[in-house]
Symmetry: C2
């Protein structure tokens, strides 16, 4: 096992072993670029060390050898009193985790070497400043001494001297302070500050290793779904100094503009400064063009190098450099992070420049990023006061007056007010209020809570599970920290970050570029799966179609039931004593649903529309408190007691596992019959207008083939009555129960198609309600118990295993069975890839995620 | 295809084709016994007819041929004016369904043949009575004319004549009535009564076929789990008459006493009577011994035949016979139904008689029947007033005063009162009341509702889901029909039938016989699976061990938490602000749990005890209404608002899918730590007394191996602290989530054992909460959508499939992994068989079901 690689021994493909930074330093070295010499300790050593708390056998020997080599190569020596070697020690893992782990600069300084440095540079103030910075950094990062101790000492020293600014401190002041700092270290770390450079180095390496598991890093990996067992490499590199005068400097540059994607050399630099200063923003840097005037030779060299790097890496590079007394050194290169619009422009441009292929261009874009382009967003340059942070449940931005219930939201929106609906949680009864609101903020519930799902479906901004927000709907107060907000107070939500912002934040409108359309067209050429949208209204259908949906994968009929003018009919139906009594409200609902379906069929002319029959339990249509029941009873002219009795008889302890889905259709067949009639009537009506409906009737919550068989029989009976039906129609089912998966061969006998309802399937498979998971799921993902939040991305090991079984069994009965997915996962890139892998025919997602799914589906084929 | 078999063409093995009755008539015919000739139409014809609504081609030809044969054989002719053939037409399916389908006697009577019969018998009154009975029966069964019309006409005729009893009616009266009856038929059936015997026969056959699908028959099949596609055969048999004078008679007999199993010829007969009369109980029959005196030759013959039949069939026979003018005819034989105690005695006796083997004896007993012997039962001979009927949720009988809440139940029981706890439904907070009550009656919930599960666990009588009972806990009333019962009114529950009985019904104590012990010993010799019991207390453990349990398969620690003296400590713990605050109540709980475990370990010395760590969500320990919260706040000396806030923050929408099981153990590790310490402390303590505890710590609701790994690590850490632990202990998990099944290979890496929690697994797999299924599940089983209620018997296709996967995956990781089951299904015979089939090591069930499981496990091996 090789523990350490000199930069000249590695290459860019060795990221697993050397980390991104190390691999790229090696690559640049081998390209002949001016990289200060150094070496990389592998991630394997890190993992060994983290597991055993010691170095592997022979490591220290190798380290000494590499140090000897390095000293020899650059003719400097650790601890030398004349020509001392100073190094930087930096972490670098496979995936870039900026700022998450530790870095130590100027390692090798001690009382002897600082003197040698002064001798060499003639700048004693700079040298002592570097020294005291090194002591602070080392003591803090490696020895765990709090920053505040050093701050206090510095303040005291400045007070003593009667000055206010660091710049007013002289060489002697810094020197004295180094002494004081070392005392602080002794007091708080319980040992002397290590003077011996090789000891400093060993301690620094261990500290970098350990930083792999610091809280920030763990959280970052969880956020980005990176594995926790990768480990970090450690890069030990000889220091160069950009702060040795006006012919020295440091900078950060991109080979293209990372915000816009425009193709020109873009960057910033500072003369007479060290690396960190540009990023930290202590001084305002200059534009890279100015370097041409200030140090022309270095600029020319840098310009050449960036051209070379981009064409070598075939991607936009983010580079760091330092100029030491006129000589350019490269300290880092990596693929540059870029905004969504920039990502697209860069990819498209590179294809026309012949640098990359279309397939490569498609792989360059993170599908999730596309969403940034589809929603209005908060102007990130504005100064914002963040009040609290919740889950970024539905992207976009929204601002408005706080309201605490759906009715008020509806009423205020009617008068033209913009409102934010703030609830503990939402329920289907709040739909009209959610529709009316600009955005939704809830204090409980997760990324797939009702509020989140519905908001995403509506393309509406939502922050869910905002724990810092205490919502009291009764007293109409929102408490954040010590502050209380009431109805009418204005807040802004950033659904892309989960931030709740005080007042009205400035917004930016989205613009869909020609590049965007080009990229989508390329994606469509490549992908094999169809993309459909989940849409309950003609408007949603139109949005979906505009974004490229090739059908509706899920039309939830219950949302039509909750409309204000209909819910009372639904209630009348529920309260009916018998079938005869029920006939009148059903007839009226039928006429209304027919019109809904006509509208949707028209928009989706010639594209398939999957309509799910009624799914929620009936109690969702009735109020749940005595007060609301009383009000409704008065409204409907029925007796309070009678209504309360019905509501209480329908009450369920676990509604998710209750009397819903096809169970309703089986015990109360007249409801499904009505819906099927409405669907067929709508089909017949639009055919007369030359529209071609492709209808797929979907039966929810089937657990046993007998359920589907019974409802399918009913549908065929209704169809027979209504002949001729001169359009295409099919009958299929949601696969959303574990039992449906393991009996899919039976179910396929009665199904023309399957559609995975992965929301419910995930909940049943895990035994975890999305509405209740808020109390433990965040803990699980934070602690790495779940690699991913299964409500966000399909759990491939568990839920995915059941899906594989269902696909296999279903197609063993009908080899060409059409199978899709309509859960929330249908628009999530990793899940889309999985759907391609297991052979689904289509994914369906909310309208605003259609482009995301198109791209992800294309990537899955590359 | 052969449609019809003469009795001489069949045999007892052809039950599928000829039904039980037909097969046995054939068998007896071939044994040379005196069976009136006849033939059997196959079940295949029935199924064809039911599907196509017509006879298969050639059937009518065959029927005529068989009739010709029959006429020829007994020298009587259908419709003959001198020697007419009369037949009975009876259904007969594979499984006996007594009284469920239709029978027609004396078919062939019409105005001509009745005259011939009078000529033959010289008894005109008897002949006309038979005729009018035939018309009534035929009109009702075949032509669908209601009985009441005939009753009315009869009443009118009697009134006319001025008499009150049927026996006062003469031949002429009956003759006149036949005319009136035929008019009634014409009016209500819309056609003439068929006079032609072959037409009568065809119509009767069709009616018998159709009766396969009448409501009674369907319900009966559902109740007994018989398939609906078997069809019925039709037996056409020449009539013999037991009512032709004092040398004629009819009777029913058993080869042994069916109530007690005693070995003597047992039966009853009536002289001068027709078949039905004995069963219908119109006249009081005489004991069979008396026949020896009345018609000695026939008795001798009958006695010989019954001996022959029992040794031929090698089982106790239930036989029907008729004596026509001194000549004995056999009309039926079948294996006799018998009470539980009798079943055991007969089986054991037959083994010692050398008639059957031990294995056969074991197979003869329905394991479920054993339960009759383990619970006190209502004296079925007593006169009872049934008020309502619910689900027979937990067998046995209980009587007492009605109470409507657990506290009252507890308080009244303390004073020595016997009470019945009547609730809409029960919750874990009611445990003490349930313990205190004699029995439990709930108006909602199913066979595995809380009340049902807990009651069975306690071996306590329970009727659940009694829809006719309206319970209003607030006003303390129980409304049944128009009547209102209040607190203190006495009722009796029959948990074996679901009957609610007015007042105090007389009871019978159970006695365990020597035969019972013998049978159990035989079962133990044969079976391969171990039988454990579910027990939460030393008392339950003792009962289980008494019944032969070889360990505890599930000890639910939460039941210990609900005890009155502990729940407040639990609440204190929940309300604690931090770990420090929580330490005190946890310490006290730990001491209490340690004592619980010590008691259980002592009882189960040298047998394994599986202890499940806390499972229910914390909100179950807090009250759920403001009023109760207020009371508790006062009790605990905390602020109402604070308590309400905690309760409301713990509230869950779907508690079954919420923050429970190992999720609790992960987010609040101190609770599980406390429990593990208590377990180990108890182990260490009893070892000092020479007791050998075999401890299995079980982690509930594991969905991902990471959960188990984390808790296992914690347990090992606690163990390391407490060394030396000089007893055996293991760590394993419940398999109760679909995800656990499909990732069982991963989970097995961290598990020493698996135990299927099929209650939850069934609920998750079906997406069906046992608490909410009452609104649709009965409909499903009634309508045959589910073959079995999956909460009662393991759903082998779905849940069972997941179990197979889990066993296969689990043992692919550890080939000798110990796997058991501890759900309610563990004591249900069909499920026990399935557990043997998939290779489980043990089943665990409530103490009172242990003998059932022992027998079922033995049967599974035969």
């Amino acid at each position: 096992m090789k523990y350490i690689y000199s930069f000249s021994e590695g290459n860019q493909k060795m990221k697993d072993l050397l980390g991104g930074k190390g691999a790229n330093l090696a690559e640049m070295t081998n390209l002949g670029l001016p990289v200060p010499p150094g070496f990389t300790i592998t991630t394997e050593v890190c993992n060994y060390f983290l597991e055993k708390n010691e170095y592997p056998a022979g490591f220290e020997h190798d380290l000494n050898e590499k140090l000897d080599e390095l000293e020899h190569a650059i003719k400097k020596t650790f601890g030398s009193k004349t020509n001392p070697l100073l190094v930087s020690v930096r972490s670098g893992s496979k995936f870039s985790m900026p700022g998450m782990m530790d870095t130590i600069l100027n390692l090798g300084l001690n009382d002897d070497t600082v003197a040698a440095m002064i001798e060499k540079t003639g700048n004693d103030r700079f040298c002592y400043d570097s020294y005291r910075r090194f002591v602070t950094m080392f003591a803090n990062v490696v020895m765990g001494v709090g920053h505040d101790h050093f701050e206090e000492a510095l303040d005291a020293a400045k007070k003593d001297k009667g000055v206010e600014l660091d710049t007013e401190m002289g060489a002697e002041d810094w020197k004295k302070l180094v002494g004081i700092y070392k005392e602080i270290v002794k007091t708080h770390a319980g040992r002397e500050f290590p003077e011996e450079p090789r000891e400093q180095l060993r301690m620094a390496i261990e500290a970098v290793f350990s930083s792999w598991n610091n809280k920030r890093a763990v959280t970052y990996r969880n956020m980005h779904g990176y594995a926790h067992n990768l480990g970090t490499a450690v890069n030990v590199q000889s220091m160069v100094f950009g702060n040795m005068g006006e012919q020295s400097g440091t900078g950060v540059a991109f080979t293209r503009n990372p915000s816009t994607g425009e193709h020109y050399f873009f960057g910033e630099f500072l003369l007479n400064a060290q690396g960190e200063d540009v990023v930290a923003g202590i001084r305002t840097p200059e534009k890279i063009d100015m370097l041409k005037e200030k140090i022309p030779a270095a600029y020319e060299k840098l310009f050449e190098i960036q051209l070379k790097l981009e064409s070598h890496y075939r991607d936009m590079q983010d580079i760091e450099f330092t100029i030491e007394e006129g000589k350019l050194y490269m300290l880092q290169t990596r693929n540059g992070k870029r905004a969504a619009a920039a990502a697209i422009k860069v990819a498209i441009d590179m294809v026309s420049e012949g640098l990359i292929t279309k397939h490569e261009a498609l792989k360059r874009i993170d599908p999730n990023q596309l969403q940034q382009l589809l929603h209005p967003s908060i102007d990130s340059k504005a100064k914002l006061e963040i009040l609290a942070k919740g889950l970024p449940a539905s992207p976009g931005a929204a601002a408005g007056k706080i309201v605490f219930n759906a009715d008020t939201a509806y009423d205020m929106a009617e008068t033209g007010e913009k409102v934010i609906l703030v609830r503990k949680e939402t329920s289907p009864e709040d739909i009209h209020g959610m529709h009316a609101a600009q955005g939704i903020l809830t204090s409980t519930g997760g990324m797939t809570s009702h509020a989140a799902v519905v908001a995403r479906g509506m393309g509406k901004c939502c922050i869910a599970g905002c724990k810092d927000a205490q919502v009291d709907e009764a007293s109409k107060t929102l408490r954040i920290g010590g502050e209380v907000f009431g109805e009418g107070d204005v807040i802004t939500l950033n659904g892309s970050t989960g931030e709740v912002i005080r007042g009205l934040a400035p917004m930016r409108e989205p613009e869909l570029t020609e590049d965007f359309e080009t990229l989508m067209a390329w994606a469509d050429e490549v992908r094999e799966m169809k993309i459909r949208t989940n849409a309950d209204t003609p408007f949603d259908a139109e949005v979906g179609r505009k974004f490229g949906a090739e059908g509706i994968g899920l039309c939830r009929t219950e949302h039509m039931f909750f409309d204000t003018d209909r819910i009372n009919l639904v209630r009348q139906m529920i309260l009916s004593k018998d079938a005869a009594d029920r006939a009148a409200p059903l007839k009226m609902l039928q006429a209304m649903q027919r019109e809904d379906f006509k509208g949707i069929f028209r928009v989706m002319n010639d594209l398939p529309v999957t309509i799910r029959l009624l799914d929620p339990p009936l109690h969702e249509f009735l109020p749940d408190t005595d007060a609301k029941i009383k009000a409704l009873a008065q409204d409907m002219g029925v007796e309070f007691e009678a209504l309360r009795k019905v509501a209480s008889s329908l009450h369920e302890i676990n509604p998710m596992l209750g009397h819903r889905g096809c169970r309703l259709g089986i015990t109360s067949p007249e409801i499904y019959e009505m819906q099927v009639r409405a669907i067929f009537e709508a089909g017949k009506a639009v055919v007369l207008d030359g529209v071609k409906p492709l209808i797929e009737i979907e039966v929810p919550l089937v657990g046993d083939v007998t359920e589907l068989k019974r409802i399918r029989t009913m549908i065929f009976e209704v169809a027979a009555e209504m002949e001729p039906l001169n359009f295409s129609w099919k009958v299929g089912t949601m696969i959303e129960l574990p039992r449906a998966c393991v009996t899919a061969d039976q179910i396929a006998k009665e199904a023309d198609f399957f559609s995975f309802g992965t929301n419910d399937l995930t909940q049943m498979t895990f035994g975890m309600s999305r509405d209740d998971a808020g109390s433990f799921l965040p803990f699980y993902t934070e602690q790495g118990l779940y690699k991913n939040d299964p409500t966000e991305t399909i759990d491939q090991e568990g839920v995915g295993q059941l899906m594989r079984i269902a696909v296999k069994l279903g197609r063993s009965t009908k080899h060409d069975l059409e199978i899709g997915i309509c859960g929330e996962h249908g628009g999530e890139p990793k899940s889309v890839m999985f759907c391609q892998e297991i052979g689904l025919n289509y994914v369906s997602c909310s309208p605003y995620r259609v482009p995301v799914a198109r791209l992800a589906a294309a990537q899955a084929c590359i």
